[in-house]
Symmetry: C2
Amino acid sequence: EKVLSKNDELASALRQRFVRHEVFCLNLISSPGSGKTALLERTLEALPKTAKVAALTGDVQTENDARRLAGAGFPVKQITTGGTCHLDASMVGRALEDWDLDGIDILFVENVGNLVCPTSYDLGEHAKIVVFSVAEGEDKPLKYPAIFAVSELCIINKVDLLPYVPFDIERAVANVHQVHPGMAVVQTSCTKSLGLDAWLAWLERRRAHAF
Amino acid sequence: EKVLSKNDELASALRQRFVRHEVFCLNLISSPGSGKTALLERTLEALPKTAKVAALTGDVQTENDARRLAGAGFPVKQITTGGTCHLDASMVGRALEDWDLDGIDILFVENVGNLVCPTSYDLGEHAKIVVFSVAEGEDKPLKYPAIFAVSELCIINKVDLLPYVPFDIERAVANVHQVHPGMAVVQTSCTKSLGLDAWLAWLERRRAHAF
Ligand SMILES: Nc1nc2c(ncn2[C@@H]2O[C@H](COP(=O)(O)OP(=O)(O)OP(=O)(O)O)[C@@H](O)[C@H]2O)c(=O)[nH]1
Ligand SMILES: Nc1nc2c(ncn2[C@@H]2O[C@H](COP(=O)(O)OP(=O)(O)OP(=O)(O)O)[C@@H](O)[C@H]2O)c(=O)[nH]1
Ligand SMILES: [Mg+2]
Ligand SMILES: [Mg+2]
Ligand SMILES: [Zn+2]
Ligand SMILES: [Zn+2]
């Protein structure tokens, strides 16, 4: 019988709080620069101003991402780890201390840029979402399988660059499904606002099944 | 007085072996997909066939990168970590066991795709090299400062994409120098073979000062 790690205990407690207060929580994971913040910028712009949305964003250093997300007018907080390569449940718990969870319907958590370590740290989320971009190469799902296996949605971003990069998008989707058969895949461009409707539709459907 | 970690001890032993056998060793670090393997492909193609070059490449899964590098005809070995997000000195030591170090003048080590964790694992190298691409955003040096601070060279790759991405290259270089004043920076495109001469020149100069 596996002994629960400290993180698992804290994550479990967070998960129960999210259920109790009906907070739909998503954990966005990708390499540095795949476009997590850009995706959240487009998302927060697209959601109604009356939506009860909030975001936490994690980085080793700087408040850059929180500053970018704050523009939409929803509550946003930066978690700076100082060195740790992933967010953990204790950091998320601390960041949420002075927020009223009854005032939050959707909580986006942008993880530290890292395709490996965040995989094994439960934050109490309803689902992990993995993002990778067409600039990174179609073999990424095969080379970093764990995050693709445990996530519920794969976003392939920066499709506007397809004419200029050696990226085989059919091969990429096949690789995703080799690691995670049937995984939902949405293709986006955050700079050209492509594919955002499909992403928002997934969000709405997944949230409807959350409680 | 800081107690040496197990990794530091093994790395120190490797470093002594590299000195003894005059092996010039470089540790290439970047996010997944910035172009480490592509850079090594271009490099191994450019070096004379008589050069005593070898490469180790680390990944969580697959032998894809070793397969790509083997095409140049030099000794290449894949290290698969199975889950660990960085190479460490014990893995490099094991990989080198059946190689004759007297037959190697230059050893390239491609680290696992990760901009955080490899920073703190000495592999016995002469220098760390950090690669990031114009697709990732110019704030990466500020957001992941440790690897930029400890590396000796920064390669900004995929400059062929500059017309199509919102990347301010002057801002990017300024950010590199904010974190590491005076750091050497080379701009490359591995797909269009741009900037490779500058990189090879840096390599030659740095190797001349290695022993
Ligand atoms: N061409 C193109 N560039 C994009 C797209 N989405 C984001 N970018 C750019 O990619 C760079 C990185 O985007 P970010 O949103 O900062 O990526 P991130 O995943 O949040 O990065 P970290 O938080 O540092 O891990 C920025 O320069 C963005 O403008 C896209 O769809 N197409
Ligand atoms: N446009 C463009 N694409 C590039 C360039 N260099 C590499 N690529 C592409 O970028 C993708 C990733 O390149 P890789 O060489 O696999 O990157 P990597 O850093 O070795 O990736 P990992 O080992 O998985 O961390 C591939 O599709 C390459 O063809 C470049 O200069 N320009
Ligand atoms: Mg971000
Ligand atoms: Mg590689
Ligand atoms: Zn880690
Ligand atoms: Zn790590």
